[in-house]
């Protein structure tokens, strides 16, 4: 292999703990994520906390790594930051661990790291520790990233077990975009579409809600399993019934169209920048106004309510007066046969 190729792709030696690894870490990761804690190069980051702290971890293995509206780097930051935000916690410190397949393009790695840096700015969180491993070609699908994060809890009342009868269910925007965008990219669908992933950091929205003293009972980003999974988890954990109205759930034309083609339902598709809230009915309108005014959640909508009709179940009402259970999606999402 020529010298220039060695510089363009990640080699096994980049994970060997020697000079090459040092250069990779310094040139790419330290340069991008620079902050005093990381720069101290201790074995572990020294942190100071006061009050209740939220701690979360997530691994990201998306294919393809670059998709309309984001990439694995943006996803790795937004995903972990959102997990903290959904607990009413201000994201503070993140770790970032890379598992890189031998032969991975250095330029792509730089693009991904830049994307991570840009996304960190949206919440103010910092990467304070990390790890890099390089595995032989064929042992990973390009690149896997794990991020863990801690944040200061500013609102202690938010819980999956905290839904109350009479709560309103709110969704922050149109659903199913990330799942649909990935499906299009993965299958190389030659459809003319401006469909992009909703991948985004949600902390700025949550910060506004907390600052406005909105009483939030439950809050969750609807990632894998989509809206159906979140609502079913809530109904089960709080032992309440949830009723949602199909006509009120925002879905983009592109996502509806793709679902028709493949026989999917938008409720089951993944999101990476869309979240669901349960708030007392009395503050539902105020919550919507805050979201729509300050947070670019123009499509935020009240989609249903919490009741005691069928505890543990989620009911979807159709626009023509029938209803059915909105079940949790099962297994791999596979297209129908005919």
């Amino acid at each position: 292999m020529s010298h220039s190729n060695v510089n363009k792709t990640v080699q096994l030696s980049h994970g060997g703990g020697g000079k090459e690894m040092n250069r990779l870490i310094k040139d790419i990761f330290f340069k991008a994520f620079d902050n005093p804690i990381l720069r101290s190069e201790e074995d572990a980051a020294r942190l100071h906390f006061s009050g209740n702290t939220a701690f979360t971890t997530d691994s990201f293995t998306v294919a393809p790594l670059f998709f309309a509206g984001g990439d694995i780097g943006k996803l790795a930051i937004a995903g972990t930051v959102n997990d903290l935000a959904m607990m009413g916690a201000e994201p503070q410190f993140l770790s970032s661990s890379f598992i890189i397949e031998e032969g991975f393009a250095i330029d792509d790695l730089k693009k991904i790291v830049t994307s991570m840096t840009n996304e960190l700015k949206r919440s103010g969180a910092r990467i304070v520790c990390g790890d890099t491993k390089v595995v032989p070609r064929g042992c990973a699908d390009g690149l896997f990233i794990n991020t863990s994060g801690v944040g200061r809890i500013l609102n202690n009342g938010i819980s999956v077990k905290n839904l109350k009868e009479g709560d309103a269910i709110i969704v922050s925007r149109d659903i199913g975009r990330h799942g649909a965008a990935i499906l299009m990219a993965r299958e190389g669908l030659a459809l003319e579409s401006e469909l992009t992933s909703d991948c985004a950091t949600l902390w700025p929205i949550v910060e506004q809600l907390i600052a406005s003293n909105i009483e939030v009972h439950a809050m969750r980003d609807a990632t894998r399993g989509g809206l159906s999974a979140v609502l079913n988890e809530w109904a089960s954990a709080s032992n309440v019934g949830i009723e949602v109205n199909e006509a009120q759930i925002p879905v983009s034309n592109e996502v509806s169209g793709l679902c028709e083609l493949y026989g999917f339902e938008p409720f089951d598709l993944a999101n990476e920048g869309t979240f669901i809230l349960a708030v007392p009915k009395a503050v539902a309108k105020e919550t919507l106004e805050i979201m729509q005014t300050f947070c670019h959640c123009e499509q935020a909508a009240i989609i249903g309510n919490v009741n005691d009709i069928k505890p543990g179940k989620v009911i979807l009402n159709t626009p023509w007066g029938s209803s059915r259970f909105l079940d949790i999606p099962q297994g791999e999402l596979l297209p129908r046969i005919c």
Partner: protein, 373 residues
């Protein structure tokens, strides 16, 4: 810009659906008995349950969910064939959609894939050409499934493989036919079915003509129907009107896609490569004569069933004894009549055919039904 919505939005108009429900109630009231409608195709079962259309209808209309789901009707021994082929060295097994979830006697294809077999679910059968070309040192086997709807795709794939001389692409043919399945259901003297909603996509290929003999033989109305809620409601209205007038004729609600003769080009291509199989065992219904297709003798070099006949198990395996899928598919039982429904038999661990596929009757009842109970 993708604008598929325009194709279906009008067919989900709440006011149209409500008005059709009212008309159906008026017509159905003119018929003194029960109108037991079999929707042969799983796609219609899915529409009825997903959109809750059954809740909008009068009490004397009942649905019986027929055998028309390619995943549901696949017997365990055929899944065992797929697993055995996937387990051969240097082999890639390709199949469509959720076939990889269907249990065989030693587990489903997803489990075999997890254990190291190269099994690839694909969206488009023609992807098999690329996979075969990219892997010249491997044997690529297309596990072909489906009714008349998906058979042309297999025929096109075969045609392309022949024309491009792609010698490492083989086929395991499991294509089945709708009309013999209708005959099998009606052959039971206790069958309650007295009307049919005819399949949509199947009829685009085969044409509405294939149902004439069923209408004449069993004196039952049959309306070929589209899959949208308005389509299904309109078809039910057409059936109710026939019942009210005591007539039984073949009607085509889905005339925007289905003709009398069907797609003759597709039919010719299928006939070039495939012929009627003397008998095929259907999961839940047992063997039905002339109900499936197989490769013609001149293409036996591409027939995985013949090439690997030594390696393929030939034992017929029935579903669990407690499973009542056969009766459910004939309309003699409802999913909830089955003792294992929702207990031993769930979508995660299906025992019988009707729970296997997302379009199966038991699966649809399990997922969607029960809100009003």
């Amino acid at each position: 810009m993708l604008s598929l919505n325009d194709l279906y939005r009008g067919f989900r108009d709440p006011e149209v659906i409500k008005s059709l429900a009212k008309e159906i109630a008026i017509e159905a009231a003119k018929y003194s008995g029960k109108i037991n409608i079999m929707e042969v195709c799983g796609g219609h079962t899915h529409t009825i349950m997903k959109y809750g259309l059954n809740q909008l209808l009068p009490d004397n209309i009942e649905f019986i969910h027929g055998p028309g789901c390619p995943v549901c009707i696949m017997p365990k021994e055929r899944i065992d064939h797929a697993a055995a082929l996937a387990s051969l060295p240097n082999t890639i097994l390709i199949t469509l959609g959720d076939m990889i979830r269907v249990p065989g006697s030693n587990g489903n294809l997803a489990q075999f894939r997890a254990n190291g077999c190269d099994i690839r679910p694909i969206y488009d059968p023609l992807d098999s050409l690329t996979i075969a070309t990219d892997n010249p040192d491997k044997t690529v086997i297309f596990f072909a499934i489906g009714f008349e709807t998906s058979t042309p795709m297999t025929a096109v794939l075969l045609d392309q493989a022949e024309k491009r001389n792609i010698s490492n692409l083989l086929f395991h043919i499991n294509h089945v036919l709708v009309p013999p399945a209708i005959d099998a259901v009606m052959a039971d003297p206790s069958a309650k079915v007295n009307a049919f909603i005819g399949p949509a996509h199947v009829s685009v290929i085969s044409g509405a003509k294939v149902y004439r003999s069923a209408v004449d033989s069993y004196n039952t109305p049959l309306v070929v129907s589209g899959f949208e809620p308005v389509d299904v409601m309109e078809s039910i209205l057409m059936i109710a009107k026939q019942k009210a007038q005591s007539i039984a004729v073949l009607e085509n609600q889905y005339s925007r896609a289905v003709s009398e003769q069907g797609n003759l080009t597709a039919q010719a291509l299928i006939n070039k490569y495939m012929t009627i199989r003397p008998s095929f065992r259907w999961r839940g219904l047992g063997p039905i004569p002339d109900s499936a297709l197989m490769l013609r003798d001149e293409y036996s070099h591409r027939d995985a069933e013949r090439v690997y006949c030594e390696q393929l198990p030939d034992i017929e395996i029935d579903d669990h004894k407690a499973c009542q899928c056969g009766d459910i598919l004939r309309g003699l039982s409802k999913p909830k009549d089955c003792k294992v429904f929702g207990r031993g038999c769930t979508p995660e661990t299906p025992l019988g055919s009707c729970m296997v596929s997302s379009e199966g009757a038991c699966n649809a009842y399990y997922r969607y039904n029960g809100v009003t109970e």
